[in-house]
């Protein structure tokens, strides 16, 4: 068994495929992500937009509207959500919107109701969140004004001495942002974890190659090994251990690079991270070994399968993350059956949860999958014989 | 044998045969890989209708020479002419008249036998109808009719080699270059391949045949060149080659014990070059002579020594090679 481990390690190290997938690929993508993520953060926090305001008679007549607009557009304001340009008439504002100078423009109707006109382009580009924020601000203005008017109807003296307005606009109720998780939720981290999972999946080719070489149908090399005086399952285990060792080291280096160069948070639990990498690489090698026993399977198919599974870990951007989350909410069994999802979840659990049970559950799932794959692979190998025609 | 068209190129004075006649003419070919000289000032000339054998151990430069002729390799020095014209990588008209059966099986794994032959024939013959005939003939020629729809993975080694040949000769080339076509082939397929080559030659093709199986070369080839270290060490017909060396037949006699005196008497016979005993066998190497066997047996009879089996082998090309280079043909260089 040691012999097949040794030959497996040597051939994998010299054949660059594993190094490319389990090491170079995550490193390259990490560098790309590093460049990208100053922008990606914006995908989750950006609410800003450019607003055109039509400053006509109706606008001036709307009590308190201008103050509200000032409050949300002031460059120093803590409530800054938009940059404002003023226009004299609706036609000018509309032209500016069509030209793309502003994302939306605000008009006020004759009865004092604010109306927001938003461009198709801005929704296509930035989504509907910035506009929702603007409309929420305007709603609050509208409701506050209505409330003040009601108060003024029954107790006009409060309006006169300004207490009415003050009562509603003093900001008496504040929210405080708490953090439930050990570390603050970070949109970047999830991408890196998904990347590590994908690298692990791609590295399954190592397991596949090692197992395939043992098959008698793989050619003279396989036939020679089949003649050895060692039972096939032992050779398989040896080869698998070799593949696992190689992939584990590569992924560990990649994770170290992520942590050191890109500053990806992994929580403070180093042994946990090592354990997660070990479990996921074992699972990947076992999956690869199983694929290796399927005769018509080619190594390239593993990358196809990994790409598809990575969709459900949220690797491919915001839309993919939403898809992954919605599947996890709606059909958790389906999500949990995805080994790459389990890998991502291991790291996730380490970063966010106080208790280790989620992490251990995912590790257990990965180990269970690995054992299942190995068992099936061994069974299949026993049945394969040299069949030429 | 149909006469080949005269291509009327330059005549080299002092050549062994008229340059106009030669199908292949190589002058002073040199190919180096860094310090290693793979082909060392090789010259040869092949007449139409010949089966020309290139014999030599592994690494002697046979395949390198072939690849230079086919313009698959660039070479450092020398002149190569085919059908009287200089051969260049872009000599497409010349290439049309050549068929190649390379050393490694060169077929597409994804295509069936028929598709493979068709695909390679199409590189030479454009007309579809004609090509279909040629493909049918080629498949029949190599005896693969029953395997037309098979993919290479399903064929045994011998059948693969036959497919390899079919792909090379389907377009009825005038010059066929075969580079070790019978490596790792079962005896049945080998016999079929060899007789196929004889038929092709009978139909008018010139064949260059490289091998390190001397029996095949002796059987097929009208002229043979023995190569070693990139050089020609001997060339001529088989008989001429054997005549170059001193060795005649080799006699082996099964004797019991043999005393030194009798051995000396054997050694002192005319035409006996060496005589040794080797574990109960007397091995005698003779120069050419008509009565060697009778003489040796006579000595044994005179000495009253009983003998068992008697074997007499004529000289082989291996003997030629051994004598010229001091090594056996089958030794690794």
């Amino acid at each position: 068994m040691l012999a097949s481990l040794r030959s497996c390690v040597l051939s994998l190290v010299r054949d660059k495929a594993l190094l490319v997938w389990a090491l170079a690929f995550p490193v390259i993508m990490t560098l790309i992500f590093m460049g990208m993520f100053s922008g990606i953060g914006g995908a989750y926090s950006a609410v800003g937009s450019t607003l055109g305001v039509v400053r006509d008679a109706n606008y001036d007549a709307a009590v308190g509207l201008d103050e509200t607009i000032q409050a949300i557009s002031g460059p120093e304001s803590s409530d800054h959500v938009c940059d404002v340009t003023y226009y004299d008439g609706a036609a000018d504002a509309k032209a500016a919107a069509s030209a793309g100078d502003v994302d939306a423009y605000l008009t006020v109707s004759g009865d004092g109701m604010p109306q927001l006109h938003v461009t198709q382009a801005s929704v296509a580009e930035g989504g509907s969140l910035p506009t929702s924020v603007l409309s929420e601000v305007l709603d609050t203005y509208l409701h506050t004004r209505s409330a003040v008017e009601r108060v003024a109807a029954t107790r006009p003296e409060l309006l006169a001495n300004g207490r009415a307005i003050e009562a509603f606009t003093s900001g008496a109720v504040q929210t405080v942002r708490l953090s439930a998780t050990k570390n603050p939720p970070s949109p970047d981290a999830r991408y890196y974890y998904a990347l590590l999972a994908m690298a692990a999946g791609m590295g399954a080719t190592a397991g596949m190659e090692s197992a395939r070489r043992l098959l008698p149908t793989a050619g003279p090399l396989g036939a020679r090994q089949t003649l050895a005086a060692v039972p096939r399952w032992r050779m398989l285990v040896g080869a698998l251990l070799g593949a696992w060792l190689c992939e584990f080291v590569c992924l560990l280096v990649a994770a170290l690079f992520m942590w050191g160069a890109a500053g990806v948070p992994f929580g403070d639990n180093a042994p946990g991270v090592v354990g997660a990498i070990a479990a996921s690489s074992l699972m990947a090698c076992a999956a690869g070994a199983l694929c290796g026993t399927v005769p018509r399977m080619e190594t390239g198919m593993i990358s196809g399968i990994t790409c598809l599974l990575s969709l459900f870990t949220g690797l491919y951007g915001t839309a993919s993350q939403q898809l992954a989350d919605s599947i996890e909410a709606a059909m958790p069994v389906l999500a949990h059956a995805n080994p790459l999802w389990q890998t991502t979840n291991c790291f996730y659990a380490l970063l966010y949860y106080d208790t280790p049970d989620a992490f251990l559950a995912s590790c257990a799932a990965l180990l269970g999958m690995a054992l299942a794959f190995i068992a099936v692979a061994s069974l299949r190998m026993r049945r394969t014989s040299y069949d030429h025609l | 044998m149909a006469p080949l068209p005269q291509t009327g190129s330059s005549i080299r004075k002092g050549a062994n045969m008229g340059a106009r006649d030669a199908v292949v003419r190589i002058d002073n070919l040199v190919k180096r890989y860094g310090d290693l000289v793979a082909v060392d000032h090789l010259s040869l000339s092949i007449a139409p209708g010949e089966v020309f054998g290139l014999l030599g151990p592994n690494g002697s430069g046979k395949t390198t020479t072939i690849n230079c002729v086919l313009q698959l390799l660039s070479y450092d020095h020398g002149d190569i002419q085919l059908f009287g014209e200089a051969m260049r990588p872009t000599s497409y008209q010349l290439k049309r008249r050549i068929g190649v059966v390379p050393q490694e099986v060169a077929v597409f794994d994804e295509l069936t036998v028929r598709e493979n032959v068709d695909s390679f024939c199409a590189l030479y013959v454009g007309d579809r109808a004609r090509r279909r005939e040629l493909v049918d003939d080629a498949i029949a020629f190599v005896g693969l009719e029953k395997f037309e729809g098979f993919r290479p993975k399903k064929l045994s080694g011998g059948l693969l080699r036959r497919l390899n040949i079919a792909c090379g000769i389907a377009h009825r080339p005038e010059l066929i270059i075969m580079d070790e076509p019978t490596v790792a082939v079962d005896p049945q397929s080998r016999e079929s391949i060899l007789s196929g080559i004889e038929r092709l030659n009978a139909e008018g093709a010139t064949v260059i045949y490289t091998s390190h199986y001397m029996e095949e070369v002796e059987r097929l080839c009208s002229r043979i060149m023995i190569m070693d270290h990139g050089r020609s060490v001997a060339s001529g017909t088989a008989d001429e080659l054997k005549g170059m060396i001193g060795t005649g037949e080799k006699i082996s006699v099964e004797v019991g014990r043999m005393d030194e005196a009798t051995l000396e008497r054997v050694r002192s016979l005319d035409h006996v070059r060496t005589a040794e005993t080797d574990g109960g066998m007397l091995r005698v190497q003779c120069a050419s002579g008509a009565h060697n066997l009778a003489d040796v047996l006579g000595v044994l009879g005179d000495a009253g020594l009983p003998y068992g089996r008697v074997l007499s082998e004529p000289p082989t090309l291996n003997d030629v090679f051994l004598e010229i280079t001091g090594r056996a043909l089958r030794d690794e260089a």
Binding site: A17, F25, I28, G35, M36, Y44, S98, P114, Q115, H117, V118, T119, Q120, A121, A124, E125, S128, L129, S135, T144, A147, V148, R150, V151, T154, R155, A164, A167, F168, V173, Q174, T175, R177, A180, P185, P187, E298, T299, G300, M301, G304, L308, Y316, T318, S320, L323, D325, Y352, Y353 | N67, L72, Y92, I98, A106, E110, L111, E115, S119, F120, C167
Partner: protein
């Protein structure tokens, strides 16, 4: 069988592998499109978040607040335990979780009467912090209304709530700036933006499979020894690569239109045509990269790695995964050198096109042209390399 047909035959003989790869990757694009907002982008859809409220107070005021914040959003139930809260927030199952502390209602009424600050509300947000800001505005707005009513009109909790609710009727009217052109569905746009990665990867992988068979040394030597000129050989290879590019484009784009955007065939033909043309140009770029790789003699596994890594890098740099507006400026400068960037520009431009005029369409056509130029340049490099490989050295 001509060389071109030979190549196609070889390519087709790997159809299982190709089907798996091509189909899987194209499905990725379709799924991503499906997960995007299903709105016909002609209407404005207010963002609705997943919101949970943990009401520890249970008073009239807190119930009113909870009701208000959950209306118009997706209500998610979360147990009042640390672990449940962690779970929901860490995975963005809940974008905004409001915890109303015990005694908040009382505290608010008292503060309103005395003119002081009300007790704070606790919130947890997921990494979608933008949602958090939106909901903060909603929550504090209504809570301020309750406070203001309590401070001015007074009365009991029920009266305060009812007065506030009355005032809180009505909302800002939001409409889209009038679109002359009927826009493409958002799902199709998202999928089309993402399509650059599957198209590139699958085209390259298919070509890699072809090359590995065709460039095996013995077969290559046999072909080189034949009277087929280098030009014919290269043209046949080029034809095969272009065909493969065409097939991957037709499948990927066709699937996306079929599943996500059938209506746009009739409604927005010009925008659809622009998107399709951009993706076609990119597919041909992929084909020329594959051709170049073939001419360089890249092995099959190396081509596979190149297909995925290069495909991902180019798509990422081209803003295909997050949209161009989110690319940092320095990266945008680099991205100009990737064909995927120009494709994304066309897709976003077509998606946001207000009116189909020559003025709007021509710049996008120009972008398609730039993308195609990348392909032509790579192709020329490949052709030049192919010429000089008529003869080669054995290793």
């Amino acid at each position: 069988m001509t060389t071109f047909r030979t190549y196609l035959r070889i390519f087709l003989s790997h159809r299982v592998y190709i089907a798996i790869y091509l189909v899987m990757l194209s499905l990725v694009g379709v799924f991503i499109g499906l997960s995007a907002s299903p709105a016909a982008t002609g209407e404005y859809q207010e963002t609705s978040a997943n919101v949970a409220v943990i009401d520890r107070d249970g008073s009239e005021l807190s119930s009113a607040l909870a009701r208000r914040v959950l209306a118009g959003n997706n209500q998610v139930d979360v147990a009042d335990e640390r672990r449940a809260i962690q779970d929901s927030v860490a995975r963005d199952r809940v974008s905004y979780l409001l915890v109303i502390p015990r005694g908040w209602g009382e505290g608010l009424m008292d503060a309103a009467r005395q003119g002081g600050k009300a007790p704070e509300l606790e919130t947890y947000v997921s990494y979608y912090s933008g949602m958090g800001r939106l909901l903060d505005i909603e929550v504090t707005g209504y809570a301020d209304g309750l406070y203001g009513m309590a401070a001015t009109l007074g009365g009991g909790a029920a009266e305060v709530v009812s007065a506030t609710d009355d005032a809180w009727e009505g909302s800002t009217q939001v409409s889209m700036v009038e679109q002359v052109a009927s826009p493409l569905p958002a799902s199709l746009v998202t999928a089309a933006e993402f399509a650059s990665y599957p198209i590139f990867s699958s085209a390259m992988v298919c070509i890699a499979v072809l090359m590995s068979s065709v460039e095996r040394r013995p077969v290559r030597d046999r072909r080189l020894a034949s009277p087929e000129s280098a030009r014919t050989r290269n043209l046949a290879l080029l034809g095969a690569c272009a065909t493969i590019g065409l097939v991957t484009w037709a499948w990927t784009f066709g699937l996306e239109v079929l599943v996500l955007g059938r209506s746009s065939l009739a409604d927005s033909p010009v925008q659809l045509a622009l998107v399709g043309a951009a993706l076609l140009a990119y597919a041909l770029v992929a084909a020329s990269v594959g051709f170049l790789a073939g001419q360089l003699g890249v092995s099959e596994s190396a081509a596979n790695a190149l297909a995925n890594i290069l495909g991902m890098v180019m798509s990422f740099l081209g803003g295909a995964w997050t949209g161009l507006s989110l690319l940092p400026d320095q990266l945008v400068a680099v991205a100009h050198f990737t064909p995927a960037y120009w494709v994304t520009r066309v897709v976003e431009g077509a998606a946001g096109m207000g009116r189909v005029t020559a003025k709007n369409v021509m710049p996008l056509v120009g972008d398609i042209g730039i993308c195609a130029l990348f392909g032509i340049a790579i192709l020329l490099v490949g052709l030049v390399l192919g010429r000089s490989r008529g003869r080669s050295e054995l290793a």
